[in-house]
């Protein structure tokens, strides 16, 4: 059974359907890639899943329960977390405190347990040495990892990554990819929105392609890469995946 399902999801901005009758489903432990040109509706779909927006039609079902209509913190506590496209650390709190917020509120842990977990998570992400720093004073790659660490700290089973690798150089991207695979091996489910093709193609088990709010293709990376419709409307030339 799918851990997360979207059924006939539609979200309008005024008259424009930013997401139009999209169905999707993710299995537990899967990495689902989501691609599409700017304005295709990827971020909107994420926000609909998280409860930031209410879908105008359709519903989101998590582990058999309908979650659309709930507020974001409720959805987070149930087990879905999102990292933002624009990093939003709590800048005047330390790196450790940032992760603590996730554990204290997302997972409802006591201070002692949240601190222990947060320190473990920071070690995992290689941020252990920075835990006392104000999160506003760490570098962009570290901030992106901090976002991920905070999402993990909420105890989420599904993590939505909204362009978590934007602005990173190839070495840094490799590091993040390694971390993502490890997170998946721990049993987490990931949905990845990314502009960098090499990243999505390399890491995803399955890919969904959106265009103008509609799902135009779905399949394994190679299926999607060879899909005529995808090439025509979005990818341009086949050679870019070689």
């Amino acid at each position: 059974m799918a851990i997360l399902e979207g059924r006939n999801l539609t979200k309008y901005y005024g008259a424009l359907a930013a997401v139009n009758s999209v169905d999707f489903s993710v299995e537990k432990g899967e990495i689902l890639g989501m691609i599409g040109p700017n304005g295709a509706g990827k971020s909107t779909l994420f926000n609909v899943i998280m409860g930031v927006y209410k879908p105008d039609k359709g519903e989101v079902v998590f582990k058999g329960k309908k979650i659309s209509g709930l507020r974001p913190h409720k959805i987070c506590r149930m087990g879905i977390a999102k990292t933002s496209q624009i990093v939003q650390p709590f800048t005047r709190m330390t790196v450790l405190e940032n992760v603590l917020v996730g554990g204290l509120h997302g997972k409802n842990l006591s201070f002692i347990n949240a601190t222990l977990e947060a320190e473990e998570i920071l070690e995992f992400f290689g941020l252990g040495g920075l835990k006392g720093m104000a999160s506003g004073s760490i570098t962009v790659p570290d901030r992106r990892r901090l976002e991920l660490a905070r999402a993990i700290a909420t105890g989420a089973e599904i993590i939505l990554l909204d362009e978590n690798m934007a602005g990173l150089n190839p070495t840094e991207i490799e590091e993040v990819l390694k971390l993502l695979r490890e997170i998946r091996n721990q049993g987490k489910t990931l949905i990845v929105v990314e502009h960098i093709m090499r990243v999505v193609m390399g890491i995803s088990d399955r890919i969904i392609v959106l265009n103008y709010g509609e799902k135009i293709a779905e399949g394994t990376p190679s299926e999607v890469a060879n899909n005529e419709k995808v090439i025509e409307t979005y990818l341009g030339e086949k050679v870019c995946f070689v």
Binding site: A81, S84, Q88, F90, L104, H105, F111
Partner: protein, 303 residues
């Protein structure tokens, strides 16, 4: 702290007792404002509304219902805290200046309601602009100790909040509310809780001060200047810090008193000038700036 407990017994002048009591109450009020605005960043321009409600509840209970003082002030706090719920629910969804404007409007509306209610409805309840006279209260020493207690309670709660889960929620809201919500923080609930705690203590302090003043009118206890005073004192001391209100309120009340005595006509200009200079030199307030300096020094030393 213990020194403050025995001050009235060491033969200091009545003036000093009164001044200290005034400082305690200003620290209390500023501390209340700091709990909602300092921690969450939602700038409340209607704080005096809860203070005024508290004043009126105690005034009416004591003068018309002959309810004991200590009972009255807690009812004042409870009423103000409860009023904060229906006011906070819609307004705390507003961002930035809109929240400030909405709360300012609430406080002004409260004043107008008290002013016009009796005439409009045709009853003798709030006594409109004539105000209410309370029973004559005890000496200043009594209010000195009540003020001390209230101040300690407000600072204590501010400190407790800072170290609690709830405090982490408020600070996260201040920094990035959207990210806080996505990290599992029930942002609306946390904001309303902070707002109600703030309103409770403002109401309680309003009740105490009404008894101290023995005579209140809507223009006195719903005076927007009281709110502004809380804002300025918080900014001076350091918003969102535990001891900011203590430093800010003491500092401002004392220079006010000193200058008022020596420069009765120009003191307001001088106070304004001092406030501007401090805010320019220490944008995070006195306590906030000192804290940042200490942290920077510590970091440098450990590196």
């Amino acid at each position: 702290m213990i020194g403050l407990l025995i001050v009235p017994f060491i033969g200091v002048s009545g003036y000093l007792i009164r001044l200290l009591a005034m400082i305690f109450f200003w620290i209390g009020k500023t501390g209340c404002w700091n709990i909602i605005s300092g921690y969450t960043g939602y700038i409340d321009f209607g704080a005096v509304g809860y203070y005024g409600i508290g004043s009126y509840v105690t005034a009416m209970l004591m003068s018309k219902g002959h309810v004991p003082f200590l009972v009255s002030i807690f009812i004042s706090g409870a009423v103000s805290g409860l009023v904060a719920l229906p006011i906070g629910l819609p307004t705390l969804r507003l961002k930035g200046a809109y929240f400030g404007i909405a709360t300012l409007a609430f406080a002004e509306a409260m004043k107008q309601i008290i002013l016009e209610f009796d005439k409009t409805v045709g009853v003798n309840l709030f006594e409109g602009p004539h105000g209410i006279t309370l029973p004559i209260g005890p000496k200043n020493e009594f209010f000195y100790y009540i003020g001390l207690g209230v101040m300690v309670a407000v600072i204590g709660i501010t400190y407790w909040i800072r170290r609690s889960k709830f405090g982490y929620a408020l600070r996260a809201i201040h920094e990035a509310e959207h990210a806080a919500e996505l990290s599992g923080v029930d942002t609306l609930r946390a904001k309303i809780k902070a707002y109600m705690i703030s309103a409770f203590f403002l109401g309680l302090i309003g009740g105490v001060e009404a008894y101290w003043l023995t005579y209140i009118t809507p223009h006195m206890v719903f005076d927007v200047l009281i709110t502004i005073q809380m804002v300025v004192m918080s900014l001076l001391g350091g918003m969102g810090t535990v001891f900011g209100p203590v430093v800010g309120a003491s500092f401002l009340t004392i220079i006010y008193e000193l200058l008022h005595r020596d420069f009765p006509y120009t003191y307001a200009i001088i106070v304004g000038f001092i406030v501007v200079v401090v805010v320019l030199l220490m944008p995070k307030g006195i306590v906030g700036t000192l804290q940042t300096k200490l942290v920077t020094q510590k970091t440098r030393l450990t590196q």
